[in-house]
Amino acid sequence: MTTRRRLLGGFAALAAAALPAAVRAATARVVIVGGGFAGASCALALHRIAPSLELTVVEPRGAFLTGPFSNAALAGLIPPERIRARPGDGLRRHGIRWLAQAAVALDPVARELRLADRGRLQAERIVVAPGIDFVYDAIDGLSAANSDAVPHAWRIDAQFARLRAQLDALPDGATVLIAAPPNPYRCPPGPYERASLFAWHAQRRGLRRRIVIADAKDDFSKRAAFTASWDTLYPGMIEWLPRAQGGTVVAVDVAARRARLAGGETVHAALLSVIPPQHAAAFARAADLADASGWCPVEPLGFESTRHPGIHVLGDACIATPMPKSAFAANNQGKACALAIAHRLAGETPPPPLLLNTCYSLLAPDYALSVSGSYRAVGGRLNELSSGLSPAHADPALRELEARHAEGWQAQLLRDSFG
């Protein structure tokens, strides 16, 4: 019964794809690298649209913590279990072949994948959804090896527990520094939601806390609504230092817990969460899928690489501007890619999908802000059709309504993506 209802609610749209019988009976091989929001959505959609495809998902992790609401889990507002994805369970339940190992390399011309166990996989279409990596050396003194001491937890993973432990151990009157990265990066409102919920964490315990956001940018997602909300919820606790005021973190001393800012100021903090600049995951860059920007250019109908035909790049690794790098965008891209692959295998041009994005940020248990937009390919480029965000000033009832919507958004996005 649960499965039935899930099918109707979550995947009905793609169960119903109006596709030629030839595609539904296609026997081509498709391999998906990465079982995050993009890869898992794509796999589940493709399995429904074209069940005869020989579909394989390569993802070493059976379970992992996901991004949406991860700041709420860090601050203790929700249990971490609520943000855990188990792509292996969902894939197996749907009878999709899952290889629980890492993809080591991709030959984008031969369309051949090399796996950690030295096995090789060839396919007519390969979908690459590997996420992001961090440019640690953009900040003096920071490295992959010592980043754990100033945890970003931006891939959640192991640094989640470290960051949560550091947060929970903060004494009264502590200073927290959050280094916000330059564009583009995963989850644009994330650093500001983190500052908000770290303030909530202190307020709830009756602790004084100074939270400095040292930013490599001069603007950020939902800024007017965030700053007005901070004045209401957490007066005097959160300071935003934009790039123009020297806010960019240029160096860190992880042992001494100090950050040097471009403006010359040195901030000593009990907790530093340094979110480094980002680029597409090494796997995609090594496969010649990224351009000089460090991200992967794609066409807007099915997110097929413009560098290597037959290879699709989804989610945070690809350049889907003006879509943000968000879980919701990745989920929509996964489904659009599945439709496009089915059409391409039938020798047809896929129709331009209507892509949506919605991101909620939780600032307190009963207080959320949202940003959303719709996108469609026009003239070979992805265009924003409409967008909007929560008003800068609003009745508390609206913020509370959005907080309830946020809970539903997070829960359904997880279920829709991972089955």
Binding site: A336, S374, Q412
Partner: protein
């Protein structure tokens, strides 16, 4: 209209109903327009309201009301803001078909 409505009621109330013939055979129109709906609307705990099992004209009317709402405090008016009537009709037809109405 009546047979379709009965089908919808049955479909909405009985979780074990078979897949609608149109959906099962892949005959629903414009799946590329409705792929974002299920990202929010579904059966997860606390989920936003499930997509209503309405026939296409009623779904179109709902979508048009949301698009034309003067109040943009929540998400749907923003997402629909620039979609024309023809596109809203197409989305409504896609969703109605997926929820069990004949295409």
């Amino acid at each position: 209209m009546l047979p379709r409505l009965s089908a919808a009621v049955l479909f909405g109330s009985c979780a074990l109903a078979p897949l609608p013939a149109a959906a099962a055979s892949g005959a629903c129109p414009n799946p590329e327009l409705s792929l974002g709906c299920g990202s929010c609307h579904g059966a997860a705990p606390n989920a936003l309201p499930a997509l209503p099992p309405d026939p296409a004209p009623a779904l179109y009317a709902r979508l048009a009301r949301l698009r034309d709402a003067p109040y943009t405090g929540t998400v749907m008016p923003r997402l629909l803001a620039s979609l024309d009537d023809q596109t809203l009709h197409a989305i409504a037809a896609a969703v109605a078909c997926e929820r069990g109405h004949a295409p």
